[in-house]
Symmetry: C2
Subunit: 107 residues, 2 copies
DNA sequence: CTGGATCCCACGCGATACTG
DNA sequence: CAGTATCGCGTGGGATCCAG
């Protein structure tokens, strides 16, 4: 099961992107750090539980960094890690492709 | 559930890439058309059934084209569709990112 | 405000056997 | 050679309730 790691850059990336909301969350963070509530509002289709799970997964995968400010009320910020930042190049191409793809589906 | 379509290029692409073997299969086809057996040999970790399913899914998603030659023994070739071809740009960035990411995980 | 803890179900995926 | 059919299970994801 771990055989996929350290081998193929495509299989490894695939694994990270398996989470249903991985790409959209990474996109939301590509423009800078965001608080949990901001993400929630930006993604009306995702439930709070699902968003939390996806954020935890991305954090475990070292793509994002979670910072908790011990305040009242609590404030938690998410931002791309250095390696997560490098994923923005992928996001750019995904956006180009996605728009093209959607247009293709319609016609 | 279909609300994801025609909206966000990231969510749409995410959906296509959900299949566990989508990216690696697309990569295999990015270098040109391949026969079923070729794909199977290139991907030793994927079972025949899973490969078939993934190919069917990608075909349904209009990213690949399946051509059956009515011969004996049968020959079936897969190749990227025009829109699938445009996904190669994404693959290029995924490869760059993936290699970087793997290196990051080791250190 | 930002979650955690459960429950629960559908679907994805693997394994196996069979086929034109 | 290139599949199909079927089954069974594990897990991802939604819903709901609870909490610091």
């Amino acid at each position: 099961m771990q055989s996929i790691y350290g081998k193929c850059p495509f299989a490894t990336t695939q694994r990270v992107l398996q989470g249903k909301w991985a790409i959209v969350v990474l996109f939301q963070l590509s423009s800078g750090k965001k608080r949990f509530n901001q993400l929630e509002k930006s993604l009306p289709e995702i439930t709070r539980t699902a968003l939390t799970r996806q954020l935890r997964q991305l954090e475990e995968d070292k793509l994002i960094i979670r910072t908790v400010y011990p305040e009242v009320p609590p404030r938690v910020e998410y931002l791309l890690s250095p390696i997560g930042d490098k994923f923005k190049k992928v996001l750019d191409e995904i956006e180009i492709f996605g728009l093209d793809y959607i247009a293709q589906l319609i016609s």
